[in-house]
Subunit: 433 residues, 2 copies
């Protein structure tokens, strides 16, 4: 009989083991356990933790009333198409708006034929991987990177090759070296998955110079670029750097965006911008008859009213304040043990810990943080080889601003308790350059 | 530059052809053109056709007000979880309701751990195929069957083997023969995809006796059963026949359901009921972070208020009337050329035409029907080998009741014009047994 973590036995027994085993696809076996919210602490926490875990928007800032109104208006005005199949490529009106928006940002003339609407950017990545990856293919990605994407890639039977980053993000020379080394073997890297703006988890933004260098490497090795720009619109300061999509004129680049970070993750509306023929192939790999046209139409209504344009600066202000509050608290409570680099946008701070701190080991930070009541995502989550034990990711986006200092104070206490070695005289602590 | 069917050239050129070609996955190449609404006529119709094409609900009957109210209430009461990630398995409350509902119908004790919420039943089928099919696998299915499912199966690199049906649906002996013949070769059939209730397109419902025989064959050959029950709740008369899921106690059976036909296709809410361990593997193959929890929660609100239970008998009445109207009109306007079997539920009438009528050939029914102003889905759409030219599928669900007679009158005229041969004295015309 089926039982699971204390649940009552279900009257539907599991299948005969041999039947299940011989029926599973190779892909589901490659996929491994479900990815669902990275890196909660293992044991139930002794006190309710303050969560610095999820890359999700500030819950107070979600535009409930405007979305409810858009949902109502759309159903009243265009109820039938909102409640019927909308097609695998998505609602034309939203694709037109996105073509205009992305086109303007990138200095390209896009049409609705260049856009596919997806179930969030996670759905976009799944769609892209299914369209372009075969078992045995090699995908280059920043190490560290977003674990949801890594899992999606690996579930195709493809292999992820991590490219080391520095404080400025992806290192073009490291990419070139890795690709060349692989190409000398029997593997041909097919695709680069990259998060160029406010990287998850490092927060780094790739410079224009590096983007040009990366694009040149991609061209030379016939590497597709999948550019995940989930966080690009959450910019606190500095100038927007042109996207790979813009720099390439769209050739060989798939640009992924989402309303999840700017509006709400629960809408599940993301998109891919790409050349038309590539888009046509993406649409071929959609078997879900498209996501809900009601949701797509209410998002179109919301953005067409200019509400995203007024919402964005408000939430950017919120995240900038939260980042600043967190950094101030880190300097006060954690500085001797950690360093970080100030992100100029996005949701995350990436902390490198002193080698004496053991964040992922039992008895290390993982345990003391749980005891002190603060939750983060440990660094190994973001590396396919599970290295990265000296890092943790803190999300400042979701936690209430007034809880940030307390969270970081708790983290500071946890760090001190996990600091098992003697303190050297020449500590490299404090903010990184 | 990219141009497409009269659209202005996009400033984003297509990729260099070799880059695209060498980058596409084998799966997207196997998938073929996008499936999007089967079988419109080829040329633009000379007069606006009455559409008997889509398997979609009566648009007048869509419960706009109740859904809008549920959307509002849910956002007011549980706005935060509605607008945040809800997880790949779906909203617990809706899974609990479905476990209760499906469990009651099937006489099984189900829990939320047995249910996965998907992007409609199309999303459910994609999820199942990804979890259980590898390239080279063989899937048995009724011939004819739902083309969306066939496409999803084939895009995994799997092969569909059609099993001939008779007026009562899937023939167990034909299934056994086909499976045994295949097993003598190097192929082991892995899965049976079947639509046992109000089959799409034939309308047939499989008897209890046949279900037992099919289940026995599946057991003997270790064939999983995927039971697509999209139409099961649209029953006009007769007793509900126990599902494969019920008959097997859940062992080796995945039961697919949806709110698309009972409520609205545009919600994109379907589900899979299965043993817990099988469900866990389905969830592993979800990379989309789940569909919108807002939609899932508003559906839960709608059904929990008992609104589905009051809506269902109303729409069943509508579809019964529409079926009867269509059958009466067929007897009057088409009987000399066609035969059909009265479906006891669902959305479709499956017409077998006299051999003299050429429904899919140029100059045959396809052309005359377009000229007369009536659209249907031609039979070859439902056969993987594109046979079935002597059949057409008529959907009575979507068309306005008052248009049905005119549609069938037009079809009758088109049939007469496409009837190119001499009429034999012993015509088998009129309703089939």
């Amino acid at each position: 009989m089926a039982t699971n973590q204390g649940r009552a036995a279900s009257a539907v027994p599991n299948w005969e083991a041999a039947l299940l085993e011989q029926s599973l696809s190779r892909r589901v076996q490659a996929a491994g356990p479900a990815y669902w919210g990275a890196g909660a602490t293992a044991a139930p926490p002794p006190i309710p933790p303050i969560a610095l875990t999820g890359g999700v928007p500030d819950p107070e800032s979600l535009p409930f009333d405007d979305l409810a109104e858009a949902a109502r208006v759309v159903l009243e005005r265009e109820g039938r198409p909102a409640l019927q199949y909308g097609g695998p490529q998505g609602f034309l009106g939203l694709r037109e708006w996105l073509a205009e928006r992305v086109g303007q940002a990138d200095g390209l003339l896009l049409g609705p034929e260049n856009i596919t609407i997806t179930n969030g950017s996670a759905g976009a990545l799944a769609n892209i991987c299914e369209t372009f990856l075969d078992p045995g293919d090699v995908v280059m990605a920043e190490a560290p990177s977003y674990p949801g994407a890594m899992r999606t890639i690996r579930a195709q039977g493809a292999r992820v090759e991590g490219v080391p980053v520095d404080a400025e993000g992806l290192r073009p020379e490291a990419l070139a070296e890795a690709v060349e080394a692989l190409s000398r073997g029997d593997a041909r890297p097919k695709l680069l998955y990259t998060i160029p703006n406010f990287h998850n988890p490092t927060g780094a933004t790739l410079s224009l110079e590096r983007r040009r260098a990366v694009l040149e490497i991609a061209r030379r090795h016939r590497l597709l670029i999948v550019e995940d720009d989930a966080y690009g619109e959450i910019r606190f300061e500095g100038e927007r750097v042109p996207s790979f999509f813009a720099l390439s004129g769209g050739d060989g680049v798939l640009r992924v965006g989402t309303f999840s970070k700017t509006l709400a993750t629960g809408l599940r509306v993301g998109w891919v911008a790409a050349a038309q023929e590539a888009t046509d192939f993406l649409v071929r790999m959609r078997f879900d008859m498209g996501t809900s046209p009601w949701i797509q139409r209410l998002v179109a209504e919301y953005v067409s009213r200019g509400l995203l344009d007024s919402h964005l600066p408000q939430v950017v202000d919120i995240y900038r304040r939260k980042r600043d509050t967190m950094v101030t608290a880190l300097a006060e409570h954690c500085a001797p043990n950690v360093r970080w680099r100030l992100p100029s946008g996005g949701f995350f701070l990436w902390l490198e810990m002193d080698r004496r701190v053991q964040p992922s080991a039992i008895g290390g930070l993982r345990e003391t943080a749980a005891e002190e009541g603060v939750a983060y995502v440990s660094g190994d989550t973001f590396f396919v080889d599970r290295s990265g034990n000296q890092f943790i990711r803190l999300a400042y986006s979701f936690v209430a601003e007034q809880e940030i200092e307390e969270a970081i104070r708790r983290l500071g206490r946890a760090l001190k308790r996990a600091d098992t070695g003697p303190r050297p005289g020449t500590s490299q602590s404090g903010p990184a350059r």
